[in-house]
């Protein structure tokens, strides 16, 4: 074995050479020994700063305490360089004492970024990684972390489809959609996958990192949709810091639909009756009464939104944390209590979230460190009666007839749209029909160790962790016997009582899930001369088990005791189910760094998933990435460019997010009740005894295996003018073997329930731009501007489609989820037009005219054309303006999207008023077709065809977040022993610029058609205070 040169000796060698060089120059110039101290702006010492004499190749570095010594000629220029800091040049002179203060670069290249199974200095990243600090996410006053992300990081495409407390998770896409199957990214929290992040206390988040390119391959089989890495805060040595933040918020829908008034409703109903050849339901006299309000009880006009919704709902969020420690023990302890009310007026609905965390680090010996992390979270949500989730409630609200009275002046509750008390919206929303209660308890624990083994060989270490996550959920749904409701008879001026005697019932469902993960990693880090090497091999294993137990009883004697024992055993059901899951992974990475100039990473992962049959279970996922820090080269001289880096990566990642056991035929037992309204199985015998049935799982696909993405990324990072940072990434990802059922290519007469098959091919490519500008004008005023823009375009390369599908309809060649739409060509204005143009049966004057695309003289599905834009935006952007003046600070954050389309249409009577006022009434009207929706959610004719008529441009710019803060002066605080105190006011979703009009939010709830029938997105106004001791 070749004898190694210890670094110390190496340094000596360099020094000798240096001296030699100096000696050479000494012939011409006198040399002088210079000593000095290098610090950063805050006065902290900087070890390892390299110092060169300009024009010479030799130099030195600062020692552990930031001191250096160098021999340099008079008038020589010394160049100080350090990662993440601006290069500093100093002319040697007698006035200069040798001390140097270095200034941080704008982009903070010294920042340590979390990457898969490790960390890396930002300057030395080879992959495409977006990060945001937890403190940035904290600024948004929303209760759900996922709703703070839109526009905050380049490459993330985030949509918030609902504002319902407790169920307002955003959908997240990393660089858009790359597959026809599951597009969910993998989320890893503190090294453990499958931990949900949306309900984390945002104050606990230290870093939020997104791996966007092939470097995600270190997560192998689940990385194809990108990986989100979250680390939570840990203790720091030093005096402990106690921080308390309190927030109070008011929220309201971003848009409240303006619905039909009762006369408009009656008018529409009559027009519909006429359309379908029926007698009009309302006389002109009745319509007049609805219009003039002369008979408020007999002919009322109710705005159901006003009647059952609050103007503002409240939300409180209190966070306490304690952080500190010594050299031996460091701790971070925190707690959060969040409470959110719903917008239902008398609502019993609320959502509550309690988080507690303790992250402890112990240095047992110099070489052995232990970490103990514990998190406990209790979420509770009380909702309305079973069957009345937000979608059902808003569906009812949209349907509710404006000529019904919610509560009569004498306090009697009116009947609802179903006629009986069971459908009265008033009862639905105040618990009169029962309640649902959801409890989610999470316990997440992790024990880790890190063992440095310098005795075997320096740089060698063994790390490992074991996590045990327990998740206990309970659902209780109680259907109460509703109190009576009343109908008013204006002719007799009497109230008719409608009584329900439906006995109460109760469903309880308990699930207990646990996940165990073990990880062991042997790592090696060493610096040789200018080269440094980092490498590891690791093994990871995860086992999960899901247990479910549920029970149901009906025939309760009263609404009061809501436990199973109080119900009848007649008709009772119960059920249990267990599901197991496991993973096995082998992984390794080797990184080489030459002089912080040339960086190369190679990683590989060998992954096993039980979703596939033996033999198809393991996949191999390699990735290679490299970077060249051009600005580190000696030939590179630029006063404008402080730092320049080129990056490239290539690799393979997988996706296995499909149902397990699709390779064997499964038979699923159906027993008891399938839902509140549907029983399972069949009934035999005179007393109709229930027997179970089997439904079939998918037809077996013995060849099912991984979906594989091959991703290439080229990037450029730049720092300019000491204040501007620029980052550009160009990427392309080809997804093969996409797992989707080939339902468009297999006829229904086969009777098959189709399994997922490795059939699809999709290409996704795009570009990302991230800009940051920081400027400190003077001690009082500084500001920053950050902007990012993502453009991602996907295209289906292959999807199983029958050959007979016309070219203009093929999904192949178009973006995923692209619409297939009839081509609207205005509205038929007169009979002559109608007669001259092919149209579907039932079409009349005032209806949408469709193009006969294939020219066969008939309008049918063959005239639909594939559009090029989908609901998923191709472009997403964010812009942050921040600043500080004296003790005031502000942040304004705009976010938006472009190149997306959404379908918005009325989903029946009732509807938004705009559709009524804009309806076709006479020749020349062009806004909307004539009345085509009738009461009871019926519609007539072809206006409801999915067509370009209803397609809207879904581009928008939103004032996503705005915050103003004031920090109390330090002088004042020190008197009361306080480190810092800040009060702030913030707003979320204050306004948006879009083409969705007054009744609808541009972030629609569903991917296909938006009828507005969901819990709307929320605008939030928040005031808060933070104190630190």
């Amino acid at each position: 074995m070749k004898k190694k040169v210890p670094p110390k000796k190496l340094g000596l060698l360099v020094l000798c050479c240096l001296l030699l060089l100096c000696c050479q120059q000494a012939f011409a110039q006198k040399t002088k020994s210079i000593t000095g101290h290098v610090t950063d702006e805050r006065g902290l010492t900087l070890p390892g700063v390299s110092i060169f004499i300009e024009g010479a190749s030799a130099g030195t570095t600062t020692d552990q305490n930031g001191y250096y010594k160098i021999n340099a000629p008079d008038n020589a220029t010394l160049v100080f360089s350090y990662i993440g800091y601006l290069k500093k040049t100093v002319q040697v002179s007698s006035e200069w004492n040798g001390d140097v203060v270095m200034v941080k670069k704008a982009g903070d290249l010294g920042e340590v970024i979390v990457i898969g199974y490790g960390t890396r200095k930002k300057a030395n990243l080879t992959g495409s990684v977006s990060t945001i600090k937890g403190s940035e996410l904290e600024k948004s006053p929303v209760a759900n972390v996922s709703n703070t992300l839109a526009g905050a990081l380049p490459g993330l495409i985030v949509n918030t489809p609902s504002g319902e407390p407790g169920v307002d998770d955003a959908t997240i896409l990393i660089r858009g959609k790359g597959t026809l199957g599951s597009t969910s990214p993998l989320v890893v929290i503190d090294g453990v996958p499958d931990r949900g992040f949306t309900r984390l206390d945002p104050a606990d988040i230290e870093t939020f990192t997104v791996l966007k390119d092939a470097t995600a391959a270190i997560y192998g089989a689940r990385a194809a949709n990108g990986v989100i890495l979250i680390t939570t805060k840990r203790g720091t040595a030093g005096k402990s810091t106690l921080s308390f933040t309190s927030n109070f918020s008011l929220s309201q829908p971003t848009r409240v639909p303006k619905m039909l008034s009762s006369w408009e409703y009656a008018q529409s109903a009559n027009e519909y009756d006429q359309l379908v050849g029926q007698q009009p339901e309302y006389t002109a006299d009745e319509i007049q009464k609805y219009k003039d309000g002369s008979d408020p009880l007999g002919h009322p006009n109710t705005d159901w939104w006003k009647a059952v919704m609050k103007t503002w709902a409240t939300q409180t969020n209190n966070i306490l944390s304690l952080r500190g420690g010594s050299d031996k023990i460091k701790y971070y302890i925190s707690g959060q209590h969040l409470y959110q009310n719903s917008m239902y007026n008398s609502g019993t609905d609320y959502y509550k979230n309690d988080n507690a965390r303790a992250n402890i680090d112990i240095s047992a010996t110099d070489n052995f460190k232990i970490g103990i992390d514990v998190m406990y979270r209790a979420e509770h949500r009380t909702g309305e009666a079973p069957g009345y989730d937000a979608n059902a409630i808003f569906n009812q609200l949209w349907t509710a007839y404006p000529y019904l009275i919610p509560v009569y002046p004498n306090g009697k509750v009116g009947v609802g749209i179903g006629g009986g008390p069971g459908n009265a919206m008033v009862y639905v929303l105040n618990g009169g029909l029962g309640t649902t209660n959801y409890d989610y308890d999470y316990l997440q624990t992790k024990a880790s160790f890190s063992w440095a083994l310098p005795k075997i060989t320096p740089g060698l270490h063994l790390d490992g962790y074991y996590s045990y996550d327990l998740n206990v959920n309970q659902y209780r749904g109680f259907d109460a016997t509703p109190p009576p409701a009343y109908s008013y008879n204006s002719a007799t001026q009497t109230y008719t009582e409608v009584v329900s005697t439906v006995p109460p019932d109760l469903t309880i469902s308990n699930t207990l899930n646990y996940s165990r993960l073990a990880n062991i990693k042997l790592g090696y880090e060493r610096k040789f001369n200018k080269s440094s090497i980092e490498a590891f091999v690791a093994y990871e294993q995860q086992q999960q088990k899901f247990n479910e137990l549920d029970a149901y009883r009906t025939g309760f004697l009263s609404n009061t005791v809501q436990e199973l024992f109080a119900g009848s055993t007649v008709g009772e059901t119960n059920n249990s189910a267990t599901t197991m899951f496991a993973r096995q992974n082998y992984l390794s990475r080797i990184s080489y760094n030459y002089d912080n100039k040339y960086l190369l990473d190679y990683s590989m992962r060998y992954d096993g998933s039980p979703n596939f049959p033996a033999g198809k279970r393991f996949g191999f996922f390699p990735s290679i990435s490299g970077a060249w820090r051009v600005s580190q080269e000696s030939f590179f001289h630029s006063s404008a460019i402080d730092d320049l880096k080129l990056r490239a990566s290539w690799g393979k990642t997988g996706n296995d997010a499909v149902d397990a056991f699709q390779y064997i035929q499964t038979y699923n037992l159906q027993a008891g009740r399938l839902s509140q309204y549907l029983g399972a199985g069949y009934f035999y015998g005179p007393s109709a005894v229930q027997v179970p049935g089997f439904t079939l799982g998918p037809t077996p696909n013995p060849n099912i295996t991984w979906e594989v993405a091959t991703t290439t990324n080229i990037g450029l990072d730049m720092q300019l003018f000491h204040s501007l940072s620029v980052s550009v990434d160009v990427f392309r990802s080809n997804r093969n073997n996409i797992l989707v059922p080939p339902s468009a290519a297999v006829p229904d007469y086969t009777g098959l329930t189709l399994p997922d098959e490795n059939l699809g091919k999709v290409q996704n490519k795009g570009i990302e731009l991230d800009l940051g500008y920081n400027k400190k004008v003077n001690d009082k005023f500084s500001y920053n501007i950050n902007g990012n823009i993502t453009y991602a375009l996907n295209k289906v390369i292959y999807e199983a489609e029958p050959a007979t599908v016309p070219g203009y309809q093929k999904a192949t060649g178009h973006p995923i989820d692209s619409y297939l739409l009839y081509q609207a060509d205005g509205i038929f204005q007169n009979t002559a037009e109608l007669n001259a143009t092919p149209h579907p049966v039932g079409t009349g004057v005032g209806d949408i005219r469709y193009k006969d695309v294939n020219g066969d003289g008939v309008i049918n599905q063959l005239d639909e054309v594939r559009t090029n834009l989908s609901h998923t935006p191709e472009m997403l952007f964010g812009l942050t303006l921040g600043g500080k003046y004296k003790n005031f600070d502000f942040t304004i954050f705009f976010q938006g999207q472009a190149m997306a389309k959404a379908i918005l249409m009325p989903g029946g009577l009732n509807m938004a008023e705009q559709f009524f006022t804009g309806r076709w009434q006479k020749e020349g009207d062009n806004t909307y077709p004539r009345t085509f929706n009738g009461p009871s959610e019926r519609s007539y004719g072809s206006n409801t065809y999915p067509s370009t008529f209803w397609l809207k441009n879904d581009a928008f710019v939103r004032l996503k977040n705005i915050e103003f803060g004031y920090s109390l002066p330090k002088a004042l605080l020190s008197k009361i022993n306080m480190k810092a105190a800040r009060v702030f006011i913030s707003g979320n979703n204050l306004f948006s610029i879009d083409s969705f009009g007054p009744s609808f939010d541009p972030e629609s709830a569903t991917g296909t058609v938006n009828y507005g029938k969901y819990y709307p997105q929320q605008r939030i106004i928040n005031i808060g205070a933070n104190v630190t001791f």
Partner: protein
Amino acid sequence: MKKLYIIISILFLFTGISCKKVLDLKPTGSFSSDNVWRDPALIQVFVNQIYKESVFAFKDGGFGWGSQTDELYSNFNWCSENTYALGQETPDNQSSSFPLNYSSTLNYWTTLYSTIQKTNLFFQNIGQADTVGSGQAINNLKGEVHFLRALCYFELLKRFGGVPLITKVYTANDKTFNESRATWDQTRDFILADIDASAAILPKAYTDNGNDGKATLGAALALKSRLLLYAASPEYNTTNDATRWQAAADAAKAVIDLGVYNLYGNATTYNTIFTDNFNSEVIFSRVFSPTVQEDRYNTLYRDLSPNGYNGYSAYNVLEQMVEDFDMADGTPFAWTTPVTNPYLNRDPRFYSDILYNGAPFQGRTAEFYEGGLDSKESALSPWNASKTGYTIRKFIDASYNFNIQPYSGCQWVAFRLSEMYLNYAEAEAELGNSAQALLYLNKIRERVGMPDLAGTGSALIDLVRHERRIELCFEGHRYFDIRRWGIADIGSKDALGIMITPVPANSTTNFTYQIFTTQKRVWLPASYYYPIPRKEIQIDPSIKQNPGYN
């Protein structure tokens, strides 16, 4: 070096864990083929589901069809009936699902083939069960599944005419599809073969009445009778081949001659045919439990009853239907002036089948007159009022209070003896055997106390058809009867209702009657057959669409 050993041992420990084959998991939430086909109890479970999917009942077996004919109007379009009544059906709006949901149609191409696939899977695997014994039980299941597959194909034949006859079990490896449609007659023969196979196995009755509701010999032969009657009918028997009528007569007689079944009930207890589970008239029926809700099946009493009783009036009887009920003396009803009460002295079945203005029901009389409790002027959920002035009374157990619990036990009679009499009478009338035809026709009338009929030739055929319309109303026959008789367009005549006006305005006993159009219907000649969903033809161009659709 000691540490190195420790590390190596730790690594080995982990490798040791991995050797336990953590990935070799078995499904714990479901059964697999290995379990099912060797266990008669599990095979029974498999067959139960086939029953559930292939025996249709109230909404998909009766009212949904009735609402596309001169029987009913669908108030809520639960089975997309109005799409068809308005002539707007195309190959593009034929979605169907099991169980039937709001946007579903009765097309059922997809759901029926899905059930047929289950029957084929049964035949592919049932051989394995022979190795585990219990031969008689397994053998009976074979008979039942033959019957159920025949039932499914008959449902397809009724809707589409000849269809692809699939007996193979497709797999995920099948990538090319070129099944063409069999002819009407080939499909009939295929169904007959299944019926014969089941008839060879199934018992006349089960000794344990806990098995009531399973297929019997009678059920198989009743299906055969209905199939052969259809096959002999003008629309499908274009050459008027008399042997087909003979075969139909023989098939109906075979059921009658089993000696198992008797007409049940009389003029006043007529409705007990439907409310008494497995009574002597029932050949095959589907029953529902009073303890498990099956929405829009066993919520029937609530769904059909008028708004004044907190019901939904989901299906409204048309004036045409009401008028077709004769007077009790056997003469036809007519609006001869002045009719003070059109609901007096009618065929007793009128009172069992239809809820009309003034009918006694659940403790009061129904008030369909303008301003009455069951009218659209009612204070009680007027939006749920009948649009025609009538609702269905048939099938309802009036003693049941659906306000306490919306669902109840109930029975859908799929085949009953009365139909066999009518099938037999029709075939014999077509064959010219008037005496035989009248014998059975009059048995049906005698039960409810209606006077005997007499006649020959086409007059007799008309009498049989009229009797069939009355006796089997709302039971899902009319839609297919008017098709096989080639008179389907009468189902698209505008749906009529009655406006009942009190005179004077506050009267509850004196009314004037005015007939009005409830629904303007559109006749689409193509609608003799359902359109095949476009997807099928796009994937497999050898499947030809039914005429008139594109």
